[in-house]
Symmetry: C2
Subunit: 412 residues, 2 copies
Amino acid sequence: MKGNVIVGQSGGPTAAINSSLAGVYRTAIERGAKKVYGMRNGIEGLLEERYVDLSEHITNDLDVELLKRTPAAYLGSCRFKLPEIHEDQSVYEKIFEILEKLDIEAFIYIGGNDSMDTIKKLSDYGILTGKTCKFVGAPKTIDNDLALTDHTPGFGSAAKYIGTSVKEIIRDGESLVYGKGLVTVVEIMGRNAGWLTGAACLAEGEDCEGPDMIYLPEIPFDIQKFVAKVKQLLEKKHSVVVAVSEGIKLEDGRYVCELGSSVDFVDAFGHKQLTGTANYLASLVAGEIGCKTRSIELSTLQRAGSHLASRVDILEAQQAGGAAVMAADEGDSGVMVVFERISDDPYQVKTEVKNVHKIANDERVVPREWVNEEGTYVTAEFKRYVRPLIQGDVSPVMVDGIPRHLRRPFKC
Amino acid sequence: MKGNVIVGQSGGPTAAINSSLAGVYRTAIERGAKKVYGMRNGIEGLLEERYVDLSEHITNDLDVELLKRTPAAYLGSCRFKLPEIHEDQSVYEKIFEILEKLDIEAFIYIGGNDSMDTIKKLSDYGILTGKTCKFVGAPKTIDNDLALTDHTPGFGSAAKYIGTSVKEIIRDGESLVYGKGLVTVVEIMGRNAGWLTGAACLAEGEDCEGPDMIYLPEIPFDIQKFVAKVKQLLEKKHSVVVAVSEGIKLEDGRYVCELGSSVDFVDAFGHKQLTGTANYLASLVAGEIGCKTRSIELSTLQRAGSHLASRVDILEAQQAGGAAVMAADEGDSGVMVVFERISDDPYQVKTEVKNVHKIANDERVVPREWVNEEGTYVTAEFKRYVRPLIQGDVSPVMVDGIPRHLRRPFKC
C-alpha cells in the first residue's frame, strides 16, 4: 500500500469487534500502510474530524493481544445512516475531503447491515465521482443475520456465552426444590433472527439435558401451546428451563413483550414501559400453573462477555479485518468479507468478498427446517452448524483477579 | 473415624458449594470414614430417607476436579426449618433414627444462616438426649453475611463474576453514543448486606474507572440526591454506570423495588408484580433526565457463574469442608468452620470453629465506615478486604467448547 488506511466500528458492540480492528491494523502495517487511522464513533465522528492514529495506542504485540480480549468498540460506535446520494451530496463531499486530506487509500468499516449500507453508498459515490479510495466492510454482529456469509464474527463468542450461562442456569434450577416446580424463562437477544436463541442448545451434553424448549422469533408463538407444554414437562421434572428470543411474536404479529405492557404499566412519569418477553411469560406461567417462576435476561452481558470468548470467533474476526485490508489493497471496493464453510468436521472455512449491494439491509434468518416441526427446539443441523463456532478459548489476561482490557486514553 | 459421615447442602446455590462437598468427601475418606453419604435436598430429603453413597458418584480425582467446577448444589438444596425442640420432638426422633441406622458419626451441613440453625438444633437435641453424633457446619453463601467469619465460601467467586461483568458492561456503555447520554443501572444480589454490590468496585483498574456509583442496602437511599448525582455525572461523561443492591430502601423503610409496583402493574391474572430495583431507577432517570437508560440484573448468573470462579474461593471452600469433618472427628459439635484473616498482603487466613449459637440467625453487614460519607461508593478498606478473595482462576474443563460439570445420574 502506498497511502493510508482508516477504520471504523459501527452498530452494537460484540466481544470480537476489536479483534477485527486488530486484524485491520496488523495487515495494514504489514502491507506498508504509512498510517492507520481509527475513526472515533465511526462515520459520525469522522464527519467531525475525530480520529486517532492507531499506532499511538497499539504499540506492541501485548497491546494487540489485549485489544483482541477487549469487548465493545474500542474506537466507539455509532448508528448513523448516510442520506441517499441523490438527496444530499454535501455529506459525501465532506467525507471525501477528509479522506483526501488524510491520504486514505482504504476505508474499512466493521459492522452489520447498516454499516454495509454505509460502505455501499460511499463506494457508489466514489465510483460516480471517479475517486480511487476503496471501501470494504468487515462483518460484525452477534445476531449472525448478515446475508451471503456462513456466519459473522461476534456470533461465536455470544453463542459460547449463552450456551455456558444457560447450562449454569439449568444446574441452578435443578438444585432448587419448590412444591409445584420451578420454571425459568431465559430471554436472549435477536429480534428477528433466532441464531443466538438457538445457541441455548449448546448447554446440552453428557452432563446436561439442555434447555427444555427453545423458541425462535422466526416461528409464530402460541401462548396456549406453550403453557400446555410447560405443564406437561412439570409432570416429569421439577425444574423446567425455556430459552426465548426477545423477538418472539404471536401469529397476529404482536410481540409477546407487548402483551405485558397492555396492562398499562407506567412509571412515575407516565411513560409506558415495555416489560420483557421472559418477564411476561414467567408471570403468565406463575398465574396459569401456580408454580414458582423466574425470568432471566442475558442482556448486554451476552455481547460483552469477552472473558468467555470463542477462540475460533476471535481469530476469524481478526482474519476478517485483515482480509478487508487485503481486498482493498488488491483493488476491491463496495464489498464485504464473507466466510464460506468448506466442511463442518473438520471445521474449515475460507474468506471471500461479496458485493455489498447484495448484503446491505438484508437479513438472514434461521432456516425453517433447522427447527423441529412443533417449533420448540432446534434440530441436529442447527447444532452441527453452531458447534464449531464456539470452539477454543481465549484466556483472559488476568490482573489482580479481573480480566485486563486495552487502555483507551481518549474518550469515545 | 470409625463410623460414617453424612453431608448435606442447603439454601441458595453458589459456585463454590460443591467444592466444600468435595472437601468433606476427601477428608472423610482420608480420616477413615467407611461411607460418606450425601443427603439429597438436605435435611428435607433425609427425612424421606433420600440419600446417596457419594463413592458411587465421585470415583476418581477427575470427578473431584469436576465437582469443584460444578455450580449449584450437586446433592440438591432445600429450605427447611426444623421446629423448636420443645415444640415437636418427633422430627428429631426420626432424624436420629435414620442417623443411627446409617451409623453416622459426623453430620456436616454446608449452608448459610438457616442451615446453621439446623446444626444448632440437631446438636442441642443430641446433647439433650446423650447421642454421640457430631454436627458441624461449613459456611456457604454468596451474600457473605455470616457472623464471626472473615468471609464465606461462595462470596469470592460471585464477587469476581460481578467485578468482571460490571467492567464489561462499562466498556459496552462507553462505546455507545446517545444524544443525552446513557445511564446503566446494574442490580446485584444481597437484600440486607451490601458485600456483593460493593464488589462492583473490582471493575476498577488502570484500564477502567469502575462504576460511577455504588449503593448498598445498609444505607438509606435518597432518590432525589441519586438523580441529581446522575445529572452531574452526565455533564462530564456520556456513559454512567451505577451498581445498586436489590435491597436498597428509602429512609422510611420502603424498598425501592416496591415503588415500581405502586403503579399497579398486574399481569394477565391480576397478580401484582414487583418490578426490579434497577428497572425502576432506570425508568425514573429516563423520565427525569430524558436520557437513554438500561437496567441489567445480574440475577442467577452471579451465583452460578462457575466458569469464572475465584481460585482462592474454590480452595477455601474445599478447605472449609475438610475442616468441618476434622472438627467433628476431633469431637466438636454445634460449631461452624470460620475463616480468620491473619493479613491482607500477603493474604493469609486460618480456619477455626465457632459456636453456632453465636452465628445462626445473625447477619453481618458492611461496616458504615467502609462506605463513603455520601453513601455512594465503597472505601479503600472495602477494596483491601475484597481484592484477595477473587485471586486466581479455576480453569473450566472445556468439552466441545462448553464447561463440563460432574454428571448427576440421580434426580435431586
